[in-house]
Symmetry: C2
Subunit: 336 residues, 2 copies
DNA sequence: TTGTATGCGTTATCAT
DNA sequence: ATGATAACGCATACAA
């Protein structure tokens, strides 16, 4: 590939001048400028970003480490991050950690070696030494969607507390009393928070939270199915199941269908996370919707400020309840 | 950040020796080796991939330019590509072209500047000059999912012809005669091929392909809805609608629901592309399933061979029909 | 086996 | 306004 040298020779100027017109850092005589541009066009020259990064110590790249791009929540999040990053002139490299600390560290490691300017991390349960080092070294790091305790890192996330409280009230109003919750991993801040919000809301309504109505899942479809199966096998099964994320809801739906149970007649269903397809399920699923695109946008902005050395603080966005028909609503309630 | 120099000083050796143990290119005395490794650990040294790339002229990175990561087909494709790439020691940088040639070129351009070792491209309609240049310059390029005519570039894609023929036969057997098709863009090879396969299969069964039953869509949800609307407004509406991709199917479903029509009693529905959620729709949707993960895997492998300078050829994978209940099947047919 | 020195392509400093 | 040149961090050819 052609380099600055080739362009310089072609235009009859020095490499310095080529660099100057390309970055228009310093004024250049219009005539020379044109000659350089002509040479660039003729040679199809493309600046080598690798060399530039080495020299400038900046890659205009940010890393994004998420759980799994196949999870629609993360898909949308990744897309939002990418859009905002592009708007700010950054590329983004994505890593799918699959909720495994070792794989998270694999990606954080390679991203560090690639000298990304900043990192957006949806942390897995544990605080790995690598993450701790990053914090110690003061590298631009922002937690996304989740937080890790005891670390001074800005986080951009959603607080679903109010929406969950509203959902519980909604379920009560519809006459449900035996409400179960399929939780996310207690090791994840999102898992914990949703569970706490649920139990608090239940108590606030004078409803008991029976231990057997709290099924521990792991945000994966299989655990949703298993959890639903155990709940439905109970001597006194719940009359409503609230599922902690969309993947587990898919699994719970599988199980409910497999048993020939009807929603909401036999059991009501609600989901934390909303999806376009929920409108088309039978019945349409009542869900807690997170402001995913806003989440991604804000995360990039916070990281950008952090990379520019400005002080930043965490961001918390509210979720909202989307009422449909899967909980026994009479007429579909508020249109989605 | 610590560099080789720091490690060398710390271990009391030369930078060359550090480089040697890190890449174990040349045998190094066990003692020195240990000292180097100790220094690396102590300093938390991470090799600078940027500098390495500049020196070796390789980034161990491939670019992937797709239509839109929000399309579940591309989501799964991206994930498959990423997995296979990681297995081969490559990172992948993704770009969402949104089916726009200008945005495709934006990504191809930045990926070129970042000196990716190879590029996987789901080309938009037009052959842009940039793509033509890449081919001319002999850069490792593989077309994914789609092809572009008149270019000597290996392609890894799916042939849905047989599955579409099977679907048409299936529809006929179920008594459907007025079958409509909401097509993809004629400018996309995938759009054209599906349309051709459909019309050929219809003719083979002695069924007329009325022009008004061929609705032109663009693989986006809105066009699916609009197409379905026009079809259902026809004096003699179709008794079955085959939709060219999953996003347009979502749109078509919206329209059918909005009109209060029932599937398959009022109109049968089938979709090119299969999704996990299709099982849970009412009724479950009969679909043509593409071997997406295999598609991604093979694409990376072909590209890898191409990057290693070996001769490669195109790959075509077959799709298959998944019969469910949305076409009036009696008992759900073959379980999905 | 190990060290010294060069160059990858770029930007930036210092002359001119 | 422009040119010569050093330096970024690393891998490697060559020397020892």
């Amino acid at each position: 590939m052609a380099s600055v040298k080739d362009v310089a020779r072609h235009a009859g100027v020095s490499v310095a001048t080529v660099s100057r017109v390309l970055n228009d850092s310093v004024p250049v005589l219009p005539g020379t400028r044109d000659r350089v541009l002509a040479a660039v066009a003729e040679l199809g020259y493309r600046p080598n970003a690798v060399a530039r990064s080495l020299r400038t110590d900046a890659t205009r790249t940010i890393g994004l480490v998420i759980g799994d791009i196949l999870n629609p929540f993360f898909t949308e999040l990744a897309r939002a991050v990418e859009d905002q990053a592009r708007a700010l002139g950054y590329s983004v490299v994505i890593g799918n950690a699959d909720e495994r600390p070792d794989r998270q560290d694999h990606y954080v490691g390679t991203l560090l070696e690639r000298r990304v300017d900043g990192l957006l991390l949806c942390p897995t349960a544990e605080v790995t030494p690598l993450v701790r080092d990053m914090v110690r070294d003061g590298r631009p790091l922002v937690f996304l969607d989740r937080t890790l305790p005891g670390l001074d890192v800005p986080a951009v996330r959603v607080d679903g507390g109010a929406a969950i409280a509203e959902l519980v009230r909604h379920l009560c109003a519809l006459g449900h009393r035996r409400v179960a919750f399929i939780t996310g991993p207690a090791l994840l801040s999102t898992g914990r928070e949703r569970t706490e919000a649920f139990t608090a809301a239940m108590r606030a309504h004078g409803l008991p939270v029976r231990p057997e109505y709290l099924e521990a899942g792991d945000f994966q479809a299989a655990s949703g199915r298993a959890g639903a199966a155990r709940l439905l096998d109970l001597p006194e099964p719940p009359d409503a199941i609230f599922v902690g994320d969309n993947l587990m809801a898919l699994g719970a739906l599988d199980e409910i269908r497999a048993r020939g149970l009807r929603i909401p007649a036999d059991v009501a269903l609600a989901c934390y996370d909303d999806l376009p397809w929920f409108t088309h399920l039978d019945p349409p699923v009542t869900a807690v919707a997170q402001p995913v695109r806003e989440l991604g946008r804000r995360a990039v902005r916070v990281l950008a400020e952090r990379m520019e050395g400005r002080p930043v603080s965490s961001v918390v966005l509210p979720a909202r309840l989307v009422v449909r028909r899967s909980c026994g609503e009479r007429d579909g309630g508020v249109p989605a």
